[in-house]
């Protein structure tokens, strides 16, 4: 009951934030919410399935660049929808090729995707359009962006929760544990993997599309490998096999780096690095491990639509 009340208050606070907060704190909340959306959507695929994806930067970048291209021509939030479709479509294509790779092979392949996209885009833009940079001259209002990101973060969390309770949640956990075994139990692992991967990529593309107007100018450098890394850090720091983990990780990392940035201009990275090391050594099951006693299970309650008899 208390938890539900707290949750309701949190949601109300997030909705009211643009009215209450100064633009700076609203922007901080927006940045952290964007990270929450990225980390949660990364974790609902990579957490249980244990396919460490480093493609976040690729999907994020695709969404962002799409906004830069179409922003002047279509009304908000169509670019965000477009970003979602773009991310999802890319993931379907890549997933069909890459999801038979295991472990480190998958990680490096997906990392390569962002680089491949970046350099192909540069090559195309240089050769064909003759420029690489694009300006967003009429960005949506800040509060529009805030609510867009808030919706995306909320949707990502709801998707993660629903997924855990669904048959696919079980299938992903099985895939992460022993993929071949999962196949012998009737699980179409390819479909589940590609489907979930595309779903998570759709969120990443949408977040990229929604964040792009904040930077006015975009070029292919927006395919930034650090987005991929940062997402992994947030999710793992919090605990990737839970829903709360990536949220906690994103909020913690967002606030910790902001405070370090404001307080220690020349020791910021040092502080961040030491924080990571201390958390890893002190909390074996991630920050979210602080929230509960038992070890994390990749599943929560029984799935809906369970078959029996």
């Amino acid at each position: 009951m208390a938890a539900k009340l707290a949750l309701a208050l949190l949601v109300m606070a997030l909705v009211a934030a643009p009215e209450i907060l100064s633009p700076y704190y609203r922007s901080l909340a927006l940045a952290i919410l964007a990270d929450v959306a990225l980390a949660v959507s990364w974790a609902f695929f990579s957490g249980p399935s244990r396919y460490l994806s480093l493609a976040t930067g690729a999907f994020f970048g695709a969404g962002a660049y799409l906004t830069a291209i179409v922003e002047a021509r279509v009304p908000w939030p169509l670019p965000v929808l477009g970003g979602a479709l773009m991310g999802g479509a890319m993931a379907l294509l890549v997933g069909a090729l890459a999801l038979r790779l295991r472990g480190p092979y998958f990680a490096v392949f997906t990392f390569g995707l962002a680089e491949l996209a970046k350099h192909s885009l540069i090559w195309y833009e240089t050769g064909v359009t003759g420029t690489v940079g694009r300006l967003i001259l009429a960005p949506p209002e800040p509060w529009t962006l805030y609510y867009t990101i808030l919706c995306l973060a909320g949707l990502a969390v709801l998707t993660a929760l629903a997924l855990r309770r669904s048959r696919w949640g079980y299938a992903l956990a099985g895939i992460g544990s022993d993929e071949e075994r999962a196949e012998t139990l009737g699980i179409d692992t390819t479909r589940v993997k590609i489907g979930t991967f595309a779903l998570s990529a759709a969120f990443m593309g949408a977040v990229g599309a929604a964040m792009a107007p904040r930077w006015t100018y975009l070029d292919p450098q927006v395919f930034n490998p650090f987005v991929s890394f940062q997402t992994v850090i947030m999710a793992l720091l919090g605990g990737a096999t839970t829903v709360a983990g990536p949220i906690v990780g994103a909020v913690f990392l967002g606030l910790a780096s902001e405070i370090l940035l404001l307080k220690f201009r020349y020791l910021y990275l040092l502080g961040l690095g030491l924080t990571l090391i201390v958390v890893v050594l002190a909390l074996p099951s991630g920050l979210a491990g602080l929230l509960r006693r038992s070890s994390p299970s990749p599943l929560s309650s029984p799935p809906a639509g369970e078959r029996a008899g």
Binding site: A171, D178, T184, G186, P298, E306
Partner: protein, 238 residues
């Protein structure tokens, strides 16, 4: 014995230059208990891997009821009613015992007994909430059996389910196997080294040696077959 349910014709498998199975034909009837025996390295587990779709045969056909399954992915084969256990059990270690059974029930698309009843059958009802990681090896085998049954199978491929069990455990498990067949009419195709149990339980025995079927028939006649004795005891025996 009913009509043939699972049937292989001239199945062969090569790994690189190595021929592991050669012209193997077999059949398992509906509700039949068929043992697959042979010395280590005879290719028994490979045959199971071919049937369950984890490995593609190099030649030959495999049929399950009216379906050709040699080219199907593993999950499709399991949805056609072919379940299996593994020699070294492979339950999902981070999931609990009951979650392991439930996950199997979720995807087969076939009716099966409720997970709780299956756990009771294999005497794991008391450990439903325990992560599979914490089960000893013998219990993991039983968990795998329950998982296989949760698929609502028509045939279960059992890979040395009795290995490492004590004498009394062996007879309890063979009891369970008979009950499975008698209650649901599920056929069992069963790799086993515990000969006493095979002789008592199986209705038919197929002997595999160096990747080929060298003998087939009821347990008693197979046990007397000179080729079988030679395969097990070595060529020097007359």
């Amino acid at each position: 014995m009913g009509p043939i349910l699972l049937e292989g014709t001239d199945v062969g498998k090569r790994f690189g230059g190595l021929r592991v199975l050669n012209g193997v034909s077999f059949g398992v009837g509906e509700g039949e208990i068929v043992a697959l025996i042979g010395p280590n390295g005879a290719g028994k587990t490979t045959l199971f891997n071919l049937i369950s779709g984890l490995v593609r045969p190099s030649e030959g056909t495999i049929r399950m009821a009216e379906h050709q399954i040699a080219a199907l992915p593993a999950h499709r084969i399991s949805r056609l009613g072919v379940a299996r256990t593994f020699q070294t059990p492979r339950p999902f270690l981070d999931l609990t015992v009951s979650e392991n059974v439930r996950i199997a029930a979720l995807f087969s698309g076939r009716p099966s007994a409720p997970p709780g009843a299956l756990l009771d059958l294999v005497e794991l009802g008391g450990q439903a909430g325990v992560p599979a990681r914490h089960l000893p090896a013998g219990r993991r085998k039983l968990l795998e059996l329950a998982m296989a049954l949760a698929l609502g199978p028509r045939v279960v491929l059992l890979d040395e389910i009795l290995a490492g069990l004590t004498g009394s455990e062996v007879s309890r498990v063979t009891d369970i196997l008979r009950r499975i067949r008698d209650t649901w009419g599920i056929a069992l195709f069963w790799i086993e080294h515990v000969m006493r149990a095979v002789m008592e339980t199986a209705e038919r025995v197929i002997v595999l040696h160096h990747g080929e079927v060298i003998s087939e028939g009821d347990p008693r006649s197979v046990a007397r077959d000179a080729r079988v004795l030679q395969a097990y005891l070595g060529p020097s025996t007359p």
